[in-house]
Symmetry: C2
DNA sequence: GATAGGGGTTCCAGTCACGGGAAGGTCAAG
DNA sequence: CTTGACCTTCCCGTGACTGGAACCCCTATC
């Protein structure tokens, strides 16, 4: 398979596939003309990577997961641990975003949104940070 | 004020303040020795930027907000519009993360997490993408 | 054999919002 | 005069790609 076909079947852009080769996630052999010659196993790895990335795993997580994917004597506990750590990161991010969301939506609701300059959003942003002297 | 004091009072790292100068968000004059000489107004701008960034606004949003901050004949509607667009982006991100969270937590729950290789997480990741022929 | 097009290849630069660290100038205190 | 804390600029690295230039390969057509 050339890169175009693999791109189509894995759902990844050709650029991304080349990048994954560069960082050592896949290592397709080359044809005599220099073209990458992807095997079915490469396609499966790339599809795996695409799915893992879609779930938000970092590239380094993906590298670890791919190693476990290839390791038929793996322990599912290892997979689960990686997934759980990632879930924790996601929860942190969600919490952070929801905090922003809370503040923002309050401010937006309080803002008249008319042609006058007075604006609770501006007032909030303009507040100097607390130096907490107590 | 030198950069150290402004950093402390604004809560921003000196590095970040220099970066904000570089991209034109603040323009403190210089002392004879080449040191940046921040005015109170610069401090206020920087504190404003810090707060806006903490709410997740992009630098370009910040640039626009700062212009409105300085514009005493602004319309609060303009502020509100920027904030609302940002809120929409936050909501998108939250939705995306919650989708990941949903899939991941299901998979994690279904995974035995023992020393056997069988693992629903791996099975999910290994699925080839649908080519949707119908 | 020339040409057009649709593959493929490499390499370089840019993204976003900084952070780290080197190499060097400045200032107040002892 | 030295120490040490501050300040300066400059350049590289981050994560995970994306865009584009310049070039090669292969097939089909005239």
């Amino acid at each position: 398979m050339n890169i175009g076909e693999v791109a189509q079947r894995s759902g990844l852009p050709a650029k991304t596939i080349r990048y994954y080769e560069e960082i050592g996630l896949v290592a397709p052999p080359r044809d005599a003309n220099g073209y990458r010659a992807f095997r079915e196993s490469d396609l499966h790895k790339l599809a795996f990577l695409g799915r893992a990335r879609a779930l938000g795993f970092t590239i380094e997580d993906c590298r670890a997961l791919l190693a476990l994917y290839e390791d038929h004597s793996r322990a599912s506990a290892d997979v689960k641990r990686i997934a759980r750590l990632h879930l924790d990161r996601i929860d942190e991010k969600i919490t952070e975003l929801q905090a922003m969301r809370g503040t923002l939506s309050q401010l937006i609701e309080a803002c008249a949104g008319d042609n006058r300059p007075d604006c609770p959003i501006m007032e909030d942003l303009a507040a100097l940070p607390d130096h907490g002297s107590g």
